[in-house]
Amino acid sequence: MDKPMPDTSIPKIDAQHVNFFYGPKQALADVSLPIAANRVTALIGPSGCGKSTFLRLLNRMNELLPNTRMEGTILLDGQNIYAPDYDVYELRRQVGMVFQKPNPFPKSIFDNVAYGLTINKLKSGTALVEAVEAALRQADLWDEVKDSLKNSALALSGGQQQRLCIARALAIQPTVILMDEPTSALDPIATDVIEKLIAELKKTYTVVIVTHNMQQASRVSDTTAFFYLGKLIEVNTTKELFEHPHEEKTHSYLSGHFG
């Protein structure tokens, strides 16, 4: 883990006073969280604490759900992504996402990675082939699949599928990668591969990861934010938060009293 450095630059993402509602139920209450560029930020907390909801606000995935309402501001590079004239498609190109369960398209490995590039008309022809290879290499999957690019993605193992999903997200060259419990469906070895990959990714990308696994948060992240009952309880460098939690709730969560 990198030594935490004082961050004086403008945060990559800056959430300000965010409230979120599923129908009448409030899922997030007044959450303000700056997220530093080229760092891994972990969101932890017990089930239903709002950490995944918060993550999905960062690429506006929640608005695909009916009866939801968001209040507050989230800035990406200083621009409010919830402004009415903000292009949500462009946002999702900038902010990639990896889901809890590997969800490759029921298509070939190549088509999975190429999809984001072709729909956004970013690449075609040989440039497309090269971009797919580059993304698969970045996700540390190329050597395993280079001879079977035409095979179905569903034939891969769970860990390979998840790395394919990472490659798919990387292919369109986002600046932020959101990961929603990316290893919760994987075995320890596959998890280890993904965690090493995350450490590699933060050189180029800003990574926000939701995790249930506190060891994982301490292994991969620079900053950790602890959510509880829809509120952001505490945020600090991972080392500091794990060793010297300031809040009573953080302390009891970390020592396994609930969650």
Partner: protein, 285 residues
Amino acid sequence: MTKSSVVNQYKDRLFRGMGIVATGLGLAVLLFLVGTLLWDGVQRLNWAFLTGGASRFAQKAGILPALVGTAWLMVLTALLAIPVGVAAGIYLEEYGRANRLAGFLEININNLAGVPSIIYGLLGLQLFARLAHFGASFLTGALTLALLILPVIIVATRESLKTVPASVREASYALGASRWQTVSQQVLPAAGGGVLTGIILALSRAIGETAPLIVIGAKVFVSVPHSVFDPYTVLPLQIYNWISRPQAAYFTNAAAAILVLLVITFLMNGLAIYLRNRWASEANG
């Protein structure tokens, strides 16, 4: 072994037995049907029968006008019903989800799928034959059958779209895809096997329809048609006509024509199964 597990085993065996009897019964009826048809009709199945036209003599009568009519009617019906049915299914499932109108439409479409076909005949008679002045033409027949199978295609399309997991949609949206890109490039291809199967099964229902076509004035004694405004006949009507005659020779003709119709239906169902399997294996490598 405990008493309850013995009872359970007994129940299990009983249920299996009942299942075998039920399946056997269905198969036996089908075999008996095909068997008697073959017995009665296979002697008439020859090239002349397939390529012959209407005749006053049963031995000279053939099914070419009916065969061509059925083929035309199916193609025309498919051209009309598939785009509208699939588009409506996509709209209801992917776009119109949350609103009240969609809920209202859903109930009514499911009801329409269960309306007796003769009602569609009456609707077609008034709407297409009379108001639109298409008369007793192919077009009227195709439009009527298209209406008849439209709900079936819509329901089949929706059911197949429902089987595509939400995670596929999410993955597509997360890559910056629009709704239309998501539907056309991910959801529909993933659901394609089911949609195709539904379409073919709907068409093989339409191919056997007789009642609505009688109502809208399909003829029996016609020559091979040349345009969509020509009068026409189809296999089920030809069969109906032959069966209702007193001469035994026509009964043989009917049996032979039923065999042809059955072969077409089986082929279409076979095609549906083939397409579904091919689709599935393409997706799964």
